[in-house]
Symmetry: C2
């Protein structure tokens, strides 16, 4: 696909010095209680209260992970926080700090970089997360990429994908399929039919605290839904050596909520929609923590079934060429 | 500038699945003693022995940070480890773990990704560093970028840039100007005139242990030379509110060593050559640690002087357009 830039007025990165750009960006990036040393030296120093640090990294590339027509710079900054902090939450942790790398065509508007930093800084501040470092580099014409690394603390042992046991309940915290529904609406040029879903696609706001809450409640396995419910449930099934059996009746409300918005695609959005960043976890029999609802059970076997029928999850591969086309699809679900 | 790809035979990233690519890459990436949980779950978990973690991030972009004509994929992987681990060393720390993000044109040869991972893995293993996570993404045609985040432990308080005191000695551990000399030789198409310098440019091997050793010896300020001796000494001067006075006579051996290799450019390489990743530190009066040599002193005042004369450091800005040209220079010194 071709570049998706919407021309913006004003100065470009090539018009100002790196130092000046940093002077614009650094003030909008929050500090936080875990920061022992922030940006400006060779490295940052971040408290790791428990003597161990959770670490994950996730990048967004223009034309692959967002289109400028559909997502503002601020949206991109906010989504990067959500993607990375959801991974930390999915281990049962709290995110303490982020490092951010911007690799940009020198013709990128300064306003884009500033607005991305503003969105990222605002989402980080709302989550109590500091931005402690980063890197800037120029890139070939048309390329715009932001990479984030998140660090976090967990008070419990990390909740892996491999701990689910036969008899566990499968539960979700948060929405299902909203991001995919929002993307569908943008592709159909009818964002007004589902403003909440479009907003969730642009800037998901997972309930990060549900991760540590689930861990404290004894969750046996957990991840965040980045590639779709079925595909991600399949990861738990595979890592744990079990089958995940989802019940259509327990997903009925999720499908019904999206039907007015995307019609017959609602079921596919719920089952295979990615980038949702809601948490999916397994819990032993008994009461679920507040904010979690059961959608199925862990059984013997392999793979994921919905109402007893095996399903494939679809999902996105970053490099593989789709069978029908020479071009990669415009956006991926991760 | 235009793309600098050297055509390579064999399959491209678009020919194989992401899973298959990971199967090729993961086995060449080392684990290490600090790894409590490695790749494969939502995040890694890395020991932070002292209750705090050093964190830094540095990216390399093809055409900006390397040219395929001059650097192999393995060189790029090795250099990324050096750049990041030198930053950790410059705080007085040992690097424990790396996270690696590859953002690549789907037409990138699989062999390039595998060889980059092999170089990165080998350099990490030699330094006792684990690779614990990462991300893969496709990029617009012609773009190839690798971003690394390094985590580290320090047994001492981190050695900042701001602690230099009037009367301190200024000292360096390792070579000066070799990377710049190597780059000059590549630009002049005469790599055979200085194979050691060319190798240092392609895959610098800083003595990481000198960082913790300097910290234990009471270093008051430290950084690694990434943008050139004068420019980086200026950072210590500025952060510490002092002047750095370098002595030409103490740099004579460094200049003499490079004169047979790059002639009259030897002095400029020593004073302003970047990407060297040798450590520069200030120490109180007295004996220096083994492996360190004095090159000057900390004085009252501002900026950097060589034999009493103020000097400017030159150096690279990532986005600023050079005055004489519409095109960015082919490679930067960082």
């Amino acid at each position: 696909m071709t570049s998706s830039r919407t021309p913006q007025p004003g100065p470009r990165l090539s018009d100002i010095s790196e130092e000046r750009l940093l002077r614009e960006i650094l003030p909008v990036l929050p500090s936080g209680p875990a920061v022992l040393l922030g940006p400006g030296d060779d490295t940052a120093l971040v408290r790791a209260r428990t003597g161990a640090v959770l670490a994950t990294t996730d990048a967004m590339v223009r034309g692959r992970d967002w289109l400028d027509e559909w997502s503002t710079a601020e949206d991109v900054g906010r989504k990067l926080v959500a993607q990375n902090a959801a991974d930390i939450a999915a281990m049962g942790g709290h995110t303490t700090a982020l490092l951010v790398t911007l690799v940009a065509d020198p013709q990128t508007p300064v306003a884009w970089a500033r607005d991305m930093a503003r969105g990222l800084g605002a989402a980080a501040a709302e989550a109590g997360v500091a931005v402690v470092g980063g890197d800037l580099s120029s890139a070939p014409a048309g390329t715009l990429m932001v990479s984030v690394t998140a660090l976090g603390d967990a008070d419990t042992a990390p909740v892996l994908r491999s701990g689910a046991r036969v008899g566990d309940q499968v539960a979700v915290s948060g929405t299902l399929g909203w991001s995919a529904a929002g993307l569908l609406l943008l592709q159909r040029d009818s964002a007004e039919s589902g403003p909440d879903q479009v907003t969730w696609h642009r800037r998901p706001r997972p309930a990060y605290d549900q991760g540590p809450a689930a861990a404290a409640h004894g969750a046996t396995a957990m991840l965040d839904i980045s590639d779709g419910l079925v595909r991600d449930a399949g990861r738990i099934a595979s890592a744990s050596g079990v089958a995940v059996e989802l019940q259509g009746s327990l997903l009925r409300d999720d499908v019904d909520a999206l039907t007015p918005v995307v019609g017959d695609d609602a079921r596919a959005c719920v089952l295979t929609g990615g980038e949702e960043h809601s948490l999916l976890a397994c819990f032993p029999e008994g009461e679920l923590p507040a904010g979690w609802r059961r959608i199925g059970d862990v059984r013997t076997g392999v793979g994921v079934r919905v109402d007893g029928a095996a399903v494939a999850g679809g999902g996105w591969d970053h490099f593989e060429r789709p069978a029908e086309s020479e071009e990669p699809p415009p956006l991926h679900q991760e």
